[in-house]
Amino acid sequence: MLREQIQKFCESEYDFYKREDIVKSSEDFDSNVWKLFAEQGWLSMAFSEDSGGLGFGAIELSILFEEFGKSLVIEPYLATVVLSGSLLDKSSYPHKNELIEQICIGDMHISFAYAEASNSYDYLSVNTSLDSKNVLNGTKTLVLNGGNANKIISTCTDGNELKIVIFDTNTNGVSINSFSTVDGQSCAEISFENVQLDDKNIIASGEEAIELVNKTINLATLCICAEAVGCMESCYTKTLEYTKGREQFGQPISSFQVLQHRMVDMFIESELAKSLLIKAMLEVNNNSEDMTKHVSALKSYIGKAGKISAQDAVQMHGGMGVSEEMMIGHYLKKMISIDALFGNSDFHLKNISN
């Protein structure tokens, strides 16, 4: 039901031309579309009822992202709702409800600054420092949607333990440099120079902070994997459609056995990826002990199979495949960005092999 709702929305409100308009506009996303997301309840669905949300979990988020993947939705749902919102939701931060409420109605964007230049996927090794007087210094990189955020959630260390802080982006000493991403979104490099915070800016410390980072990244990883699974299905269905309509040498190119078997491979890989997604989303939903392992298995699989699938889709679309004006090349760019985020295929394979 949720799936049908999203599909209907994407069909009527978010076709490829609409998406292209947003990508080409000076804004990183369309605030009207974001408002529609709020109206559909999508911005609140993932939060617990205590925090004012609808209390849905990993399963619904996976479905949402799978459909987002099919339509290549570029709104900053991952940054604001999944990364920042869920982190707040799971935290014991006393002010979280007012923030979550603002996210739910679409009035606030928060970005989570978890990455630094040198930590290569180990998000618990943090150099950004918070001194005893709550002064923050450091540089965060690849902050998703950072250029559009009202607030930043950042990891830092007091020299002793991990801390998570939140503050307005217009606080003195915060400078933000925003860049476009390969999938048409944006990310920022953000530096903190003697940013003065106080105790109420601190969301969590120590064990709680570590658990929040791990669970948040794990959930976000699941979400982009679901997005990849949606991409893979679309790569397959769109290629099938294209090859059936495209004539060469007097026959549709779908009649060539080599292309048929390659599409069969795309279909099979898409189904296998879907299976791993189902497993992983159930494990995360149950908060099982093995959930990280299952998410890593999924991430390692889609990183490789997804890229191959998108490359094959481009190849079988011929010249059309490399044209910016066709949707198909954008799936490949999406798969590149998904593989890059939160550890690539080899990294996650190592995670489960060791």
Partner: protein, 393 residues
């Protein structure tokens, strides 16, 4: 989408495990656990033990003495037997000809053949492929000509069937034969049951590259087959054959046994501490998990009344690839010792070479399993099927 098992299913799983722990013949278990090839008698003992428990008719409806199990129970049964390292249940009787007989046979045929299948009193083999026919099954040439002598109606069968698994042990063979050559090739095919003791039958071994004798060519020279051994109608054999192929989905992905093998492999690879192999094992673990859940999803569709049909080709393709890749990694893990190969029956206990135990077994499996992507409709044919039914091209 429900890929989790019900309480009833869990209880059933425990019952299977219980049987495996207590009633699965110990002498068979000992051999399979230590990688020793089992004998014909071992196979018989294993099947008889299943019969005794009432599980031989795992895929049959209760009215014919079967278990009437749901798809998920079938899945659990197969997986648990695989995990325990049991030999595969021989499919030719209970999985193949049995369902054809109870679906298309007459009452006399049902009474004659079904109980012996369930009790494993008869060993069946399959007469489908012919020398030269390969995946183009319908091009078969083995001829059956009907005669009528002194009120005795019978067929005279001439021709040859090949790749016949364990024909050397079989009591009966079910055959597709050509009773009419006038129409298109699928028509004019009939389904005959033939006693392997009939005069004029000769079984010639085919030794496969692993050195084993598992398959055969069966030659028929003027073999007399009573007309009452015809299943259903003359000329409808192709319909029954297709029914059989569609019906035989049991265990095709071999998830349980692949899990067992991959687990053994993982321990070996951790011992020899090789990063390249560890990575390859990790990839297979992920793929096997994907395959398992895909099978469960198809099951769930089946149980909800869907007809996954052609999608089971995915299980065939990926299941056989998985078995082959695991065996290939056993060979890689054997390092230099992959050089030595004594044949499929090992070196024997007095003559044990240095090097790891798994080297010879791994190589034997690697060579033996090459056939899995060729038989039962080669993986290329499976992709043609998927092209037709899934892609719609």
């Amino acid at each position: 989408m429900d890929i989790n098992f019900s309480k009833e299913d869990i209880a059933f799983r425990d019952e299977v495990r219980d049987w495996l722990a207590n009633d699965y013949p110990k002498h068979v278990k000992e051999k399979t656990d230590s990688g020793i090839t089992i004998s014909k008698q071992d196979l018989v003992d294993f099947h008889k033990a299943l019969s005794k428990k009432g599980w031989m008719g795992y895929n049959w409806p209760t009215e014919y003495g079967g278990t009437g199990w749901s798809a998920s129970k079938l899945y659990i049964f197969n997986k648990e037997l695989g995990l325990a390292g049991c030999p595969p249940i021989l499919p030719f009787g209970v999985g193949m000809v049995g369902p054809v007989i109870y679906t298309f046979g007459n009452d006399e045929q049902k009474e004659t053949f079904l109980p012996d299948i369930l009790n494993f009193n008869t060993w069946w083999c399959q007469g489908y492929s012919e020398p030269g026919s390969g995946s183009d099954l319908a091009s078969l040439k083995t001829k059956a000509v009907k005669r009528n002598d002194l009120d005795e109606e019978y067929y005279v069968v001439n021709g040859a069937k090949t790749w016949t698994t364990l024909a050397q042990n079989a009591d009966w063979i079910f055959c597709l034969v050509r009773t009419d050559s006038s129409g298109i090739k699928q028509e004019g095919i009939s389904f005959l049951l033939i006693d392997m003791k009939s005069p004029g039958i000769e079984v010639k071994p085919i030794i496969t590259i692993d050195g084993d004798h598992e398959v055969n060519t069966v030659f028929f020279s003027d073999v007399k087959v009573p007309a009452k051994n015809l299943i259903g109608e003359e000329g409808k054999g192709w319909t029954y054959a297709k029914f059989l192929l569609a019906h035989e989905r049991f265990g095709i992905a071999a998830v349980g046994s692949s899990m067992r093998e991959l687990d053994r492999l993982k321990k070996i690879v951790n011992d020899i501490d090789n990063d390249d192999l560890r990575k390859k094992v990790g990839e297979l673990e992920v793929s096997l998990s994907a395959l398992e859940i895909t099978e469960l999803r198809l099951l769930s569709e089946l149980e909800n009344g869907g007809h996954p049909g052609a999608e089971s080709s995915i299980l065939k393709i990926k299941g056989t690839e998985m078995q082959q890749k695991i065996s290939e990694l056993f060979v890689e893990a054997s390092g230099e010792y992959a050089l030595m190969y004594p044949g499929p029956h090992g070196y024997g206990s007095n003559d044990k070479p240095a090097g790891p135990d798994y080297a010879a077994n791994g190589l034997s499996a690697f060579l033996n399993l090459r056939k899995t992507s060729i038989y039962g409709g080669s993986n290329e044919i499976q992709k043609n099927i998927l092209s037709k039914f899934v892609l719609g091209v």
